[in-house]
């Protein structure tokens, strides 16, 4: 029943960009499925083991833009051993062989080898954009291949990757006729940079909008770069250390003043506090400020800077800003939507400089706040209840009290009521991370009220299986659940096995789940991969069914067991 020729439908589908909507479109009827299949260009794969490269290519032969995520989230915190998996190479190999016209690749927590970067650079002549977030396994040699061979490269975005620096001249590998760069972010590289090559590259890139430098780029080079690229919208400084009374400093001040398009500022990886006044002119138009790596700035310098940032929408900062400093944020940044406060000293909880007071101040002053990541020394139920009243728009609420299982210091009660208030008040909450002393009661509240919740992170919380069951039963939209050091066991795991087919993944470590229960689950649910990470000397056959597993990771998949699992990962 098709009233329109295919081309018309295809044109209509072009306007449908969200993955969810396109998935729905493809379910309507066979001919819509076919048209959608061939016209689909952007694909998002949240777990690289849920499908194989070959199946992907067969399903969407017109693929141009691919997003892939590899390791589980807790790999960020050293809970997943190296060599667990998440290799890029098989994907590149398959796409190269099938002549996919890949243009964009966005990866998170994947293992990316130089070999795969080289193959990528040589196989896709229209390749335009490479974004690597929290990846590892490659060196500057791989970057050199991308620079040299991707003639149309527009974006090279390296965010927080561990890159082995071979000090090669990868920057010099961009050919002289490469003028297409729009985004260049190499802030995470540790080694030296050929400064002359960098200046020439920036000079011949008139479309460059975003530039984030690493620590090896000194102050005077920054000044010259800004002179050549006054059109920048996003700047990440490298080393920001200089004599504030020098000619070079005056030159930088002048250069910054001609950059009136800058809306996003980051870096200051090394910083001389007295030089910060040069950036004040930029502050009044900033929408994003990331000072979370600027360990050299004290609270007083931070607040001086923030006082100029009246249009700020996103702020990432270290906790040395203090509660008072957050008060300045609250009174200045009325447009604030996202706040991230990171610990400047993760291991010494006693020195953490922010408490519940800072958060309450921000919630009162910034009514548009919808996304929070807050590392603090302590939290009270009263504060959380106040925050819930002030800000009902939270989509992401991640609270980390540095001392685990710490109760409300005023009442010595668990923080159940505080988090309960948050989930009751913020009906659009999609992501939640809990901390502090918590009983099963908080999970009762979450199951009852957090109806839009998609991702939940739990640590050192709960009393019994009931806690986990409240969540599994109540949160219908749950996609990712990650749990560590909680007393949840087999009864909770096995109560509703079909639930896991509606989710992307479940992680449980240092809980009460036994090997036998995992085996049962794997046997009854062939659409799930149940993986055990075991780092002791015991083999699968020595461990008895009733013994507890240390780490379990399960995820839905359409391609069964993966073939690249290392020895310490048991596929049940």
């Amino acid at each position: 029943m098709n009233y329109f020729p295919d081309e018309v439908l295809e044109h209509v589908f072009d306007f449908i960009t969200s993955h969810k909507d396109r998935n729905s479109v493809s379910l309507v009827c066979k001919s819509w499925y076919k048209i959608e299949k061939y016209s689909r260009q952007r694909v998002f794969i949240g777990n690289c083991y849920s499908i194989s490269p070959e199946r992907l290519i067969a399903r969407f032969p017109g693929l141009k833009s691919l997003t892939l995520k590899g390791k589980p989230h807790f790999a960020d915190f050293n809970l997943v051993p190296d060599d667990w998996g998440g290799f890029l190479y098989p994907w590149i190999k398959a796409m190269a062989r099938s002549r996919i016209g890949l243009e964009e690749l966005r990866l998170k927590r994947m293992v990316v080898s130089d070999e795969s970067l080289e193959l990528l650079s040589k196989s896709f002549p229209n390749f335009k954009s490479l974004v690597l977030v929290s990846c590892e396994g490659f060196t500057t040699d791989g970057l050199a291949a991308v620079a040299a061979n991707c003639r149309l490269l527009r974006e090279l975005d390296l965010q927080e990757n561990e890159v082995e620096d071979h000090r090669g001249h990868w920057l010099s590998c961009f050919p002289e006729n490469c003028t297409s760069l729009v985004l260049l972010n190499f802030a995470c590289l540790k080694g030296e940079i050929n400064l002359a090559s960098l200046e020439r590259l920036v000079a011949r890139s008139p479309n460059l909008k975003s530039l984030r430098l690493n620590r090896a780029v000194p102050f005077d080079t920054l000044q010259r770069l800004l002179m050549r690229a006054p059109q920048l919208v996003d700047l990440g400084t490298g080393s920001y250390v200089h004599d504030p009374y020098s000619e070079a400093y005056n030159k930088l001040k002048a250069a910054i003043q001609s950059c009136n398009s800058i809306r996003s500022l980051s870096g200051f990886l090394e910083v001389a506090p007295r030089c910060m006044s040069a950036v004040y002119p930029v502050c009044e138009n900033l929408t994003f400020l990331n000072l979370s790596y600027a360990a050299g700035l004290q609270s007083i310098e931070l607040t001086k800077l923030i006082q100029y940032c009246r249009k700020l929408q996103r702020l990432w900062i270290l906790d040395c800003i203090g509660d008072k400093g957050l008060g300045v944020v609250a009174s200045t940044c009325k447009e604030l939507q996202e706040l991230r406060v990171f610990p400047s000293d993760p291991f010494d909880a006693g020195n953490a400089a922010v408490t519940e007071e800072g958060l309450v101040l921000v919630s009162a002053g910034c009514p548009k706040l919808n996304s929070l990541l807050y590392f603090c020394q302590q939290m009270t139920n009263a504060a959380l209840i106040t925050v819930a009243k002030n800000c009902t728009n939270f989509i992401r609420f991640r609270l980390c009290i540095l001392d685990p299982i710490k109760p409300d210091p005023v009442t010595n009660q668990p923080l159940d009521e505080g988090f309960g208030a948050i989930v009751r008040s913020c009906k659009g909450l999609k992501r939640l991370s809990l901390s502090g002393l918590l009983t099963d009661q908080v999970f009762y509240y979450i199951g009852m009220h957090a109806k839009q919740l998609e991702m939940l992170s739990i640590a050192f919380a709960g009393d019994s299986d009931k806690g986990m069951l409240y969540v599994l039963n109540g949160c219908k939209k749950l996609r990712k659940l990650e749990i560590r050091d909680c007393p949840f066991g087999d009864a909770a795991l096995l109560e509703d096995m079909g639930k896991y087919e509606t989710m992307r993944s479940l992680w449980m470590s240092s809980c009460e789940v036994t090997l036998g229960a995992c085996k049962t689950l794997a046997k009854k649910m062939p659409s799930l991969n149940v993986e055990i990470i075991n780092e002791s000397e015991q083999t699968e056959f020595n461990l008895e069914d009733r013994q507890k597993v240390d780490k379990m990771y399960l995820y839905r998949t359409v391609v069964g067991h993966r073939k690249d699992a290392p020895e310490f990962v048991w596929l049940l």
């Binding site: 915190f77 561990e162 004599d243 030089c275 993760p346 009660q413």
Partner: protein, 192 residues
């Protein structure tokens, strides 16, 4: 079906007991062997040990002060961020501010020695700040061609000529700077 109780056969009400004790201060003798108590973070974590490996219970009686105990993966800060921030903490320490006085000037100034890479930058900065020229440095004769001489007070309280020792040694031993003028200045150098 496996027992869902975390603590073996007895009720072990301690598991749900709310206590005021700091994490890690426990009376764990009642826990059944082979059972981990997941509510307490493990103590005195060595660099190589993993949390709860082998499912064996760790001896929990000798404990380091709980606030210093390091649990694997806690706090949940990305390891990239942890590695890069700590490196920065040692390198970008707060500035090394020292007073600078100039003979005849009405007030003193302060500069941050860490922003300079070496003597040439420092001397240039001093020249700009106080509007003078410093002359040419030689090991034998000090600063020649100027009536000024840059000096500094070192850790022992002695007044030294700027430039004699390696830069790194200088910035760690310099307590204050003084730009000497006139006959006093000439007295320091070997030449007249």
């Amino acid at each position: 079906m496996e027992s869902s109780s975390a603590y073996g056969n007895d009720l072990n009400l301690k598991a749900t007991e709310l206590r005021l004790g700091l994490p890690g201060t426990t009376d764990e003798e009642t826990a059944a062997p082979g059972v981990r108590n997941n509510k307490r973070p493990l103590q005195a974590e060595d660099a190589g040990e993993k949390c709860g490996a082998n499912g064996k219970s760790e001896p929990q009686n000798e404990t380091a002060p709980p606030s210093k105990a390091q649990i694997v993966g806690w706090p949940p800060v990305q390891s990239y961020r942890k590695n890069n921030l700590q490196a920065k903490k040692t390198e970008s320490e707060p500035g090394l501010y020292v007073k600078v006085s100039m003979d005849g000037a009405p007030y003193l100034r302060k500069i941050d020695l860490r922003v300079y890479k070496g003597y040439p930058e420092l001397l240039q900065a001093l020249e700009n700040m106080f509007k003078f020229t410093v002359g040419e440095y030689s090991e034998r004769e000090g600063y020649k061609g100027s009536e000024y001489a840059p000096t500094y007070e070192d850790k022992d309280g002695d007044w030294m000529l700027v430039g004699d020792v390696p830069w790194q040694m200088f910035i760690t031993s310099c307590k204050r700077l003084r730009i000497m003028k006139g006959s006093e200045a000439r007295g320091l150098g070997c030449g007249v």
